[in-house]
């Protein structure tokens, strides 16, 4: 900080002549300075503001990171005995202090009341994740800690993650293999569960592959008939021929569908013969098929290595599978795919538009009032609320352009809209509109920063204006333009509000890219990580259970944006180096 004895400061703040006074007829310099003149308070304010800013951002990032990173770590199952004799099993989730009301205080025993009073009227309670929603009708319970008489962590309690109904916490009482009841044997269970999951995945594969192809062709045949009807009229010979031909093929396809369906049914029947008998702490039991068990572990009997295994297997599932239980469990693969695809598509639209506009405004347009107005308008566009872009995208892209496209090119599918509703194309166009001001402004700045001497040098060598721009100005400005694109990407990938109107949905089982011609389906709606966060956090049935997923998904979205941006930055630096060596 400022030190008065520092000669540099002294010279700066007390220039000759100032602050000098006469003492005993001699000029004496007074080496003090006004605090505001040294700028010290301002320095402290700036530094403080920066520190607060960094603190806020880093604590936010830390919160997301910590909550996200710890979610998948397996938690122990506590068996809690209450003073009224009730026993319950659950994962302790969090605890808090609370102030018991008069009614609760009156119901307490003397010692308990004394203890609460000693704590200033506060008691503590713990939230247990008791799971077993199918049996209990709830998943979480608050238990006041003073009612707990005993807590134990028995090693025979298992946590089961099920395909449906969420988690089950309880004991394994037996196995039913091939409809034969047998005693529980961990190794048999492990083997049979793995096989059952393989069968489950086999059904998935059959449904995706062969059945999917048949269904796709069925749809094509139906559309072909409808097309013939629209083109030739309902009572023309062509239509009847098309119907006869189409129906014959439909019959054939349905016969094949029947065959595969019976295969699937056979696997399903086998699945039903292999079950596991589970018992919750209260004694009620269920007997789900083994194929319904996604993952299970003895929650209190895990080595560190086991825990790590479960942890990474959960991450694997999260990153590579589809959601289940209305998005609150399973994975987010469709959402990851949707986010990346939408952002990439947005860059494809926004880059040429933004750069060309900036080039024209900076290099070609005559700088005058009109260009200033355009520039101000572009800058103002950046301040329009994003939801307004969403409304525009819905009204113009989907309802105007999309509906016209449907009428012209997909009349056979009407009234089911193809392009006439939200989709990944319209969503990325909307976001491109939203982010184009950022790109224009950044590109203009970059172009303006190219020294005039370079342009003049190029022109003096006989290059035309376009050649100058193409070979001198653009390469020099490219890193700056890339910076604009990176900012646009970051903004676009994190934007959710307008997307909700133009194509993001809670459940979109078909990815925008698949194995059916034309392979890329830009009309399809898609899932998005940002919307997924909103949906799981604010729309899911059990918001308590959704909370950890919110953090994990946020962490993932942040990671994805960082990854996309780093890639862009690496490309930018490559370009910088490439062009740095290629011109004088």
């Amino acid at each position: 900080m400022t030190d008065i004895s520092d000669p540099g400061i002294r010279n700066r703040t007390t220039p000759d002549g100032d602050n000098a006074e006469l003492t005993q007829g001699k000029k004496v310099r007074r080496y003090t300075a006004d605090l505001s003149a040294t700028g010290e308070p301002a320095l402290w304010a700036f530094g403080g503001a920066l520190a607060i800013g960094i603190l806020l951002i880093s604590s936010f990032l830390f919160m997301v990171f910590w909550n996200g990173i710890t979610t998948f770590w397996p938690k122990p199952v506590a068996v809690v005995t209450l003073e009224d004799g009730t026993v319950l099993a659950g994962e302790p989730t969090r605890n808090e202090r609370f102030r018991p009301g008069t009614a609760i205080l009156n119901a307490m025993s003397e010692e308990q009341r004394a203890e609460v009073e000693a704590n200033g009227g506060y008691a503590t309670r713990t939230l247990y994740k008791t799971a077993n929603f199918d049996l209990y009708g709830d998943d979480f319970r608050w238990i006041p800690d003073y009612t707990v008489t005993q807590t134990s962590y028995p090693p025979d309690f298992y946590t089961f993650e099920r395909q449906e109904w969420g988690v089950f916490i309880g004991r394994v009482t037996g196995l039913v293999i091939d409809d034969q009841p047998m005693a529980y044997d961990p190794q048999v269970m492990r083997r049979e569960q793995r096989e059952a999951r393989q069968r489950f995945n086999e059904i998935r594969r059959l449904e995706r592959g062969p059945i999917g192809r048949i269904n796709h062709r069925l749809e094509q045949e139906r559309l072909a008939i409808r097309r013939a009807q629209l083109r030739h009229g309902a009572d023309s010979a062509e239509y009847e021929a098309a119907v006869a031909e189409g129906n014959a093929r439909i019959q054939e396809l349905q016969a094949r569908f029947g065959e595969i369906q019976s295969q699937v049914a056979a696997i399903r029947a086998l699945d039903q013969r292999n079950r596991v008998q589970l018992e919750e702490i209260g004694g009620r039991s269920i007997e789900p098929p083994l194929s319904q068990i996604v993952r299970y572990y003895a929650a209190n009997d895990l080595s560190l290595l086991d825990k790590a295994g479960i942890y990474f297997s959960r991450w694997g599932e999260f990153l590579s599978s589809e959601p289940r239980e209305a998005n609150t469990q399973g994975g987010v693969l469709p959402a990851i795919f949707g986010t990346v695809a939408m952002t990439m598509l947005m860059v494809v639209f926004v880059a040429p538009f933004g750069v060309i506009t900036a080039l024209y405004l900076r290099e070609y347009a005559k700088q005058g009032r009109l260009v200033s107005i355009v520039r101000i308008s572009v800058n103002n566009l950046a301040g329009v609320p994003s939801i307004v872009y969403g409304v525009f995208g819905l009204g113009f892209f989907a309802y105007t352009m999309g509906v016209t496209i449907d009428q012209l090119f997909y009349p056979e599918r009407l009234p089911t809209p193809t392009f006439g509703t939200g989709g990944i194309l319209w969503a990325s166009l909307t976001l491109a509109l939203l982010t184009v001001p950022v790109v224009i402004v950044a590109s203009e700045e970059a172009l303006a920063a190219v020294p005039r001497s370079m342009r003049e040098g190029s022109l003096a060598c006989g290059a035309s204006k376009w050649q100058t721009i193409r070979y001198v100005v653009l390469p020099k400005a490219l890193p700056g333009i890339m910076t604009g694109l990176i900012l646009a990407m970051a903004r676009g990938a994190g934007e959710v509000a307008p997307l909700m109107l133009v194509g993001v949905v809670k459940l979109a089982p078909a990815l925008p890219v698949d194995g059916f011609w034309p392979f890329i389906h830009l009309e399809r709606s898609f899932m998005h990580l940002g919307f997924h966060i909103f949906d799981v956090g604010f729309q899911s049935r059990n918001s308590e259970a959704g909370k950890p997923m919110v953090f994990v998904t946020t962490l993932l979205l942040l990671g994805l944006i960082v990854a996309m941006n780093s890639t862009a930055i690496i490309i930018r630096n490559r370009l910088k180096r490439k062009y740095a060596s290629s011109h004088f």
Binding site: T102, D134, G212, N215, I250, E325, P415, L507, G537
Partner: protein, 323 residues
């Protein structure tokens, strides 16, 4: 509008309400897949039904893997325009369509939209988990939430003391949480609990059912309404009495089905069905799936209450789906 209880009586539902545990009616059929169902379905409408539609879609797709189903839920108010524009085949709504909405639909197609009643919901009035309130009457709920007080109480209720709480609660102000106006829950609650009146300006309007619960959970003086399926351990549903001195009923499945709980409702899916033409197999099979063991188990998974076979047969009959 006919009341929920009257509609229940009309469908002879009350006879089955004696069972203690809510479970799926064993008379409902199990789903038998048929061949030749493919295509895409879009559902736009209620966010209360969002999760349920997703579960139904997941279940339906386990039978028809390449049927693609899209689900958007921004509020019941978005369902009628989507059906009229043809952008959706299903319009889930947590309230019946209004007269004007039906008229608009009729003006376009010449017939009315057809609803199916896939599930029963009890609208819970939730308070913070530490709130000791034992019971509220409908009139009190009205005087808490409404500015018009059509329920008949003279004064607005502003503190918990005014509804009978003592001690530290007596002076604690009541904080109101509710849904935004596109929501069917908003409309239904206004119609039934507010006796058609208006909400007070102080109600904090939340974007989702779950957001109401989270708001109530974090505010000790809060009260809010939301589908009972969204309840968490952080909030408590207050038993409701239909009138002063009447018996208080928990927001449970039995009470909802029996018509005792005063703010229970059906959850609808509206479908554009031409009465002169059979329903296409895709939509038909989906509706059939809703009224099966699996479909109604999904209802319970979503936290709502299943319907009975009698009601299912009635609705399937309207669609010509009874074999």
């Amino acid at each position: 509008m006919r009341t929920f209880a009257a509609m229940l009586a009309a469908t002879a539902l009350t006879a089955t309400a004696a069972t203690a545990d809510v479970s799926v009616d064993p008379n409902l059929p199990t789903y038998e897949p048929v061949s030749g169902v493919s295509g895409s379905l879009t559902s736009i409408g209620s966010d209360t039904l969002n999760n349920l539609m997703t579960l139904w879609a997941e279940g339906f797709r386990s039978h028809y893997p390449n049927v693609s189903i899209e689900i958007q839920g921004a509020g019941s108010g978005t369902a009628p325009p989507a059906l009229i524009e043809g952008t959706a085949q299903f319009g889930p709504m947590s309230r019946p369509m209004r007269g004007t909405e039906i008229e608009q639909f009729e003006a376009r197609f010449g017939y009315e939209p057809t609803p199916i009643r896939g599930a029963i919901d009890a609208l819970g009035v939730f308070v913070h988990r530490d709130n000791p309130i034992e019971c509220l009457t409908m009139q009190q709920v009205d005087a808490i939430f409404s500015s018009t007080r059509n329920g008949g109480l003279d004064d607005a209720l502003n503190t918990w003391g005014e509804v009978g709480l003592e001690g530290e609660w007596a002076n604690r102000p009541i904080a109101l949480y509710g849904r935004n106006s596109a929501s069917g829950t908003y409309g239904y609650f206004r119609e039934v609990a507010l006796f058609g009146g208006d909400y007070r300006g102080e109600v904090r309007e939340q974007p989702g059912s779950s957001a109401v619960i989270q708001g109530v959970a974090s505010d000790i003086g809060a009260i809010g309404y939301s589908g009972v399926g969204y309840a968490t351990a952080d909030v408590r549903a207050v038993p409701i009495a239909a009138s002063e001195g009447g018996e208080c009923f928990e927001a449970s499945g039995d009470n909802a089905m029996a018509g005792d709980y005063p703010i229970a409702r059906f959850l609808y899916i509206y479908v554009n069905k031409d009465p002169n033409q059979p329903l296409d197999p895709l939509r038909g099979e989906f509706i059939r799936y809703v009224y099966t063991q699996d479909g109604q188990r999904d209802v319970m998974r979503a936290g709502f209450f299943p319907v009975t076979n009698g009601l299912a047969e009635q609705d399937l009959g309207i669609f010509g789906l009874m074999n």
